[in-house]
Symmetry: C2
Subunit: 718 residues, 2 copies
Amino acid sequence: MRILSVALLAALSSSVYAVEGMWQPHQLKALAEDIEAKGLALDPQKIGDLQSHPLNAVVGLGFCTASFVSPTGLVVTNHHCAYGTIQYNSKPERNLLRDGFLAKTFGEELPGEPNARVYVTESITDVSSKLRKGLPDGAKNGLARFRAIDERQKALVKDCEKAGGYRCDVYVFHGGASYFLVKLMEIRDVRLVYNPTEAVGKFGGDTDNWIWPRHTGDFSFLRAYVGPDGKPADYSTSNVPYRPKSFLKISQTGVSDGDFVMIAGYPGRTNRYRLSDEVNDAISFTYPTQIARVREILDVIASNSKDRPDAAIKYAATVASLNNGLKNFEGNRDGFAKFDAVALKQNEEQKILAWAEKNKPAGVTAYRDLKALITEVRATRERDQILGYLNQSGITTTARTLYRINIEREKPDAKREYGFQTRDEARIEGGLRQLDKRWDPKVDRALMEYVLNRYLMLPETQRVPELDRWLGVNGSENQLKSKLDSLFAQSKLGDLDTRLQLFRAGRKAIESASDPALQMAVALMPATLRIEQENKTRAGRETMLRPVWMDTRIAYASSIGKQVYPDANNSLRVTYGNVMGYAPKDGLQMLPFTYLEGIVEKHTGSGEFDATKAQLDVISAKRFGPYSSRTPTGTQSVPVNFLSDLDITGGNSGSPTLNSKGELVGLAFDGNYEAISSGWVFNPKLTRTIHVDSRYMLWLMDEVDQADNLLKEMVLEQ
Amino acid sequence: MRILSVALLAALSSSVYAVEGMWQPHQLKALAEDIEAKGLALDPQKIGDLQSHPLNAVVGLGFCTASFVSPTGLVVTNHHCAYGTIQYNSKPERNLLRDGFLAKTFGEELPGEPNARVYVTESITDVSSKLRKGLPDGAKNGLARFRAIDERQKALVKDCEKAGGYRCDVYVFHGGASYFLVKLMEIRDVRLVYNPTEAVGKFGGDTDNWIWPRHTGDFSFLRAYVGPDGKPADYSTSNVPYRPKSFLKISQTGVSDGDFVMIAGYPGRTNRYRLSDEVNDAISFTYPTQIARVREILDVIASNSKDRPDAAIKYAATVASLNNGLKNFEGNRDGFAKFDAVALKQNEEQKILAWAEKNKPAGVTAYRDLKALITEVRATRERDQILGYLNQSGITTTARTLYRINIEREKPDAKREYGFQTRDEARIEGGLRQLDKRWDPKVDRALMEYVLNRYLMLPETQRVPELDRWLGVNGSENQLKSKLDSLFAQSKLGDLDTRLQLFRAGRKAIESASDPALQMAVALMPATLRIEQENKTRAGRETMLRPVWMDTRIAYASSIGKQVYPDANNSLRVTYGNVMGYAPKDGLQMLPFTYLEGIVEKHTGSGEFDATKAQLDVISAKRFGPYSSRTPTGTQSVPVNFLSDLDITGGNSGSPTLNSKGELVGLAFDGNYEAISSGWVFNPKLTRTIHVDSRYMLWLMDEVDQADNLLKEMVLEQ
């Protein structure tokens, strides 16, 4: 069976199926012929130019993608990307999440949540030579190599951010084969302009998350504001709408099955070039154990917040996030069950190795050494997983953060640990302030007890001496209980003022504190730093090996006339392809479009499928405006969501979907369930991107929500 | 929402969607134009002729349909229709169910199970005038009217069966608007010729039951044998293969999406012309309560056969049957949840009544009186449901049957209760013999206790005095327990010889017996007979009303140029239409064909999805023979199952599916889940028949099972 499936998949990848590839903009020139063949009507040589339309209309939100859609800084993104800002402005007496919101004038627009940002890409500079040349030998001293790279990155970032108003970061490609310095203008005054009701924007809720057929109106509008001088500024009534270099026109006629579409956006992370051994570890260890642990953690939270609505509310976001992660882990598990990903990867590696033997022998050595490194990591993977969960506990993490920031603050900024530099302090302080909202001592204690009990099950070889000592020699469950009793009885970290005072108290004060949570953090810090250093040493070695192996892969691909795109790393990418349904199994066809009538079908009148009467009435009256098209049964209706074979991942949410003329025909907001495991192995037959259709957006704004001012502000294309 | 759905459904029923209709063969002439429009290439005027090809090749098996496919009596039907005979011939050392069976010569063919029959339709005679004229007035004396009809039917049957070798029955159409006497030649020597492995014939098991996409090879071959004189005879080695008047040719090229198909067969029962009140009762009472009761009964069986494999095996068939029923009840519930069937029916009735006011006022009165009758039935529906379950208990039913047959045997045959006549005695005796195989005292006792406890919950008004007396006045649970203790401790009905002796013991012997199960039967018989008589009285009244209402419906339909087919009643019907997929919901399309690769996709290597290595190897090697066609992805493969919009129900299983030239292109074996509630209201958008494709049958026989002898015996058409 397994062999057969691999053969099938291999056959498919050479056929007409979906186009894998999250391309760096500069790579697009080399793909011009293919892009034109897929249907682009613009000049494929220019499409990758950051300074030109349409790419210069695409912006980041930090965790999502968005785009300018008017000359006065109007931004469109997903409803779930604007969620924080909508929630921030919602009150019991004015519930914008539930009821939707429309500012009829600029003056009615509402301030974004404190961390709301719009990032406009200013430049992307190849700094590979600055990062790769003259480094210490990682095989001999991995740590020195790691530190050298780290210092060079920090120096580049510091220099780049000097001017103010910019956020810079060095992005690592192919595990270190190349580095790019990205300079982003950081717009800090971002306001809420329009969001549909939650019944539209989150229609289907968690049930429909990752699911096709889909009927979610996952879109909202924000506006970027800058100071009167045109530069980023904090929120102020004297700020003015930002005037972007360009903006996208909205298509009123949308796309049809088979049409060309492309997406520019900021995909977060993929693992497409991981070795077969790493894929094997993910399948045989990571996902199964994570699924088991997360389920147990959810049980612990549920049983300890039962009949305690206050605690339940505090952990609601954590539970939602754990459930989201669980669905992802399960999606990976289910995806991997459909074919032999390890054999597929091994097959691929054998081809590359056979070629490298003759043409690039260094690649063969790097491959072998990488495998050895992977084997090393396995030795403590159970420990590392458990410690990871311990670090998610409220009080432990708070104590460790407080200690660490005070340690790091003693160093010059450039030497401080990544995440604990001056530029990070505001974010850390924000976290300390918000602990109260998502922390309950009873739940936290139960979680710590669960995690530490799992820790005690580890074999001797994986135990951490410092933690063993803290727990008491040969720590039994009973000692653990009394340890936690006193920790939770005596710690004052639940108090906001105490936390804020400790934030700037200095290293000495923490080390001499009597708070048992802080004492635990102090006791464990040597272990944390030791493990961190081991990881850095290994990472330093990896920066010797992974780039060589990736250079080999790229050279091999080049020898057979193929381009290699890098794994996603939050940097700007372009993916292109076509509107396309798929066959999840024999006899079943997922059609590429859904329509308004599907909302009526799913509507139950409560919970996640509770369309508004206003919307149902307009559907029932068939008031489709100029936004309808012909459905498969020959009737007319407005398309709601559509599928394409584009290659996206988390971070791409909100990305504008462009047609062959570069007009906005929708927004990417999800993948199908089968796409989850495509983070590791792209299955062209089953991987699909889900878009909200521009016609649905326009129809809703026009016929249901009367957002005439926005329709007038934007440029609509027939 | 509900209103909207009704409007939608109404719109659909006048569109191009599926063709509702289980037509009596004689009705087809009037439909000739429509049949030709759908694509029939034969003469539509002749297609309904019982004595001609293809209808005279279609036969009944009693509970399924089948057809002759060779000049020497070869019969093809579903695997699940031949199941009893395959099981009958299976032994641990030669498991034909698991391993399949192929007789390479006539001599190797195996005897059918004792009740295996092939019924060849000899004639269908309209006897309506004999049944409807000069009957007592049902409004005054329902019982007299019922008895008069009953006696006339029995007389017709007796006269018809006089010759011997025939089975005759009077079939009631439209609740008594017309009656037809059907004369069937009853072939009693039916042998097993070929069945695929269970991994093919039952692929997907209960999981895939009622499910599309489907990949089940639900077909098997039998052969009809007669005495050397050509007349039906008991099994004998001197019997010879029956030579049918005609037989079907098998298509090797099959059908494509949209092609004409038709089916002739014996659908069991539908409720398409029930009044809106009856539909309402089914939705609000029957299905919900049946679902609850059946689940409870399944729990009782499970908990009382736990860790008792012997008991579990004895109740395996009962559990399978209950689960099958449960899926049906749930399918009805789920189907009815999708639209407002009651409003749809009311709407239909209002139109007919409005027309009848002017044209056929008797219909208005009949409708009103029928509604009153339905209200009467409601008064005891909880009681009737409970008594129904009591009648399914092993020992109670056995005792009641033994008493009843001895009572009935005292009457002249024509006066005996239907089901207890001379012609029924062999079947009753067979049941008594087989009790051991499906009866366990502990489980039976628990079931009786469950049912009687439910009985005790009935309101006073629905209690049965005789049963109350038997249980002890104000029967409490404790009295019930001791009553059952002594019944199960003392009854000897678990003993086969005792049962057989009592079968012919005579009424007096039963009435004076000391066996507590018999004493219970004797004590309750007056109640049974009284309720039976009440039901007959009501049935007699109904035969006054239902035909008038149906005559009105037919006249109304005729006034708008439409034919009316009768509800299914186990008599021969023809349904025609086209190969067609469906859209179960917006964005999802069920394709009309499945292919071999779908078997590989579903194969898990165990349980219900455990394809044989032999089959997988042939698929993997793409040895498709001349049976492949182009799949939706452009590859070649062998179609396994397909969908059509034909109108079938239980009893149609095994029906030959014919193409436009009358060649066999498949066998009907199931409906989709959405089709279950079509027993009440035909939803043309969602109701589909599932067929096994003739190409899959031929491919399997040719490439996997080497059934060359059968391929040679049959006539294959290109």
